[in-house]
Subunit: 136 residues, 2 copies
Amino acid sequence: MTSDVHASHAVSLKKNQKLVHDVLMTAENPLSAYSILDLLREEGFRAPLQVYRALDKLVEFGLVHKLESLNAFVACSHQECSHEEPAVFMICNQCESVRELGDTGLDNHLGKLAKKQDFALKHTTVELHGQCSKCT
Amino acid sequence: MTSDVHASHAVSLKKNQKLVHDVLMTAENPLSAYSILDLLREEGFRAPLQVYRALDKLVEFGLVHKLESLNAFVACSHQECSHEEPAVFMICNQCESVRELGDTGLDNHLGKLAKKQDFALKHTTVELHGQCSKCT
DNA sequence: AAATGAAATGTAATAACATAACATTTTTCA
DNA sequence: TGAAAAATGTTATGTTATTACATTTCATTT
Ligand SMILES: [Zn+2]
Ligand SMILES: [Zn+2]
Ligand SMILES: [Zn+2]
Ligand SMILES: [Zn+2]
């Protein structure tokens, strides 16, 4: 079972990982772990851990991102182009839509900022809240 | 009862707000709401809401920030200079120390990015995880 | 000073998010 | 095929946050 998702490295998703990934790919908006659990009851999911374990792996693979300010998860929207962290998320407070953007300039900026502080940067969380174009 | 905190606008903190703010000012590291609750048991705190309500106000006043990636809170470290949002937080994964930085260049960058997407930016969350200089 | 309304507080119950611990099954690969 | 590693199933528990409702404090107006 080998679905090549991120162009760079093919990933073999297990049953639960595939189910959770599919739910997130289909969803319009970010989903909480418990929403995912409810959506997968029919598929046999019974407990939160089934969701969280799948999410852990998907995040590790770079196929899913956690939105820290929402306690929710989204499928990475850069599945075709081998996308490199980090990303920026624009989250609409009204319709809850999320747009994921790569921004090399920003990455450089944050990299310099970290270096200036002798900070060994490992992971960035950049989440912008406001109103999307449709809601304005 | 009028403590002028942020130089710009004096704020009158109520009893519980003052207690929570003092705890956060004293703390070395970010604190969860429940840690704060435990630290204030002696002062008569009995329930989470007493903490969360005080935190809500303190965040509204700009005296405290929530670290979304930790579900924890820190006192704003720019109390003398009337500091304007947004800020960048560098969070050490090892010692849990947090450094809050202002960065006009970054603010401009994020502003432009939002504008380019017709996104009405209201609030930014920028949290960098890694190792601080002391832990390297 | 008394009346009033708004803000803050007290308390209990519950909701929402996440992990620990342990048993079992499936997958990988030598 | 047999052993080790990874994934899964299940129960219980831990952690973070809010709802609902009663009471008190505080500022403002009369
Ligand atoms: Zn992505
Ligand atoms: Zn919107
Ligand atoms: Zn600040
Ligand atoms: Zn450190």
